[in-house]
Subunit: 126 residues, 2 copies
């Protein structure tokens, strides 16, 4: 991975953001200061940085992927109306829905807990 000015810009823009922007949202913010950056570059660098573990890609609803500069263990609450993503502290995960309601006031309509990795089939195949 070689240094690039654009990657630095993308990372900094994400770090300055409290919300969890999509690639396109971040692009629209960045072009205000750097009108020459390309949309594909923003996508490329966000995915690259997520691959390297510098940032985190959030797979929420199936519309657009969101990105998070906070790589520490924590959960997310996704509003099904406005699509905003809120942070949920990690230690809340024990009595899931009830606890979230009591501690945050978020009315949970759906809880998605999914694990991703390499299954046994694919582990042996490689």
């Amino acid at each position: 991975m070689k240094y690039s000015k654009q990657r630095e810009i993308v990372l900094k823009a994400l770090e300055e953001n409290v919300i969890h922007p999509t690639a396109d949202e971040l692009y629209k913010l960045i072009i205000k200061d750097f009108p020459n950056i390309g949309l594909a570059t923003v996508y490329r660098n966000l995915n690259l940085l997520a691959e390297k573990g510098v940032i985190k890609k959030i797979y929420g609803l199936n519309d657009a992927a969101h990105f998070d500069h906070n790589t520490h263990n924590h959960h997310h609450f996704i509003c099904t109306k406005c699509n905003k993503i809120y942070d949920i502290p990690y230690d809340i995960a024990s009595d899931i829905a009830d606890n979230v309601w009591k501690k945050t006031g978020f009315a949970i309509e759906r809880t998605e807990l999914s694990f991703q990795g390499t299954c046994k089939n694919c582990q042996t195949k490689n």
Copy 2:
């Protein structure tokens, strides 16, 4: 919601499937027996049935949405290589990653726990 032959076909096809098919995968299975069904009809009915709680829509990776006829509380393991979705029993959720590894042999690379619903902003706006 009115009865429709096509919806019955879609539901039955999903119920007969152990895998967690995408709309397109299910469509390709169904047209073998019912060549006249439309792709949009499969999408429509899967989303409608998921809305009504008859089946469950799985938001995993950000490619295509998967569907599950099992609406009981359980989790999923998504293989990042073959994209297959496996069931994980519900009572496993306490000591998340470690327990899954010990009980199933799945090597977890990413755990996604996300809650969806209506946030406070949107609750008051409506």
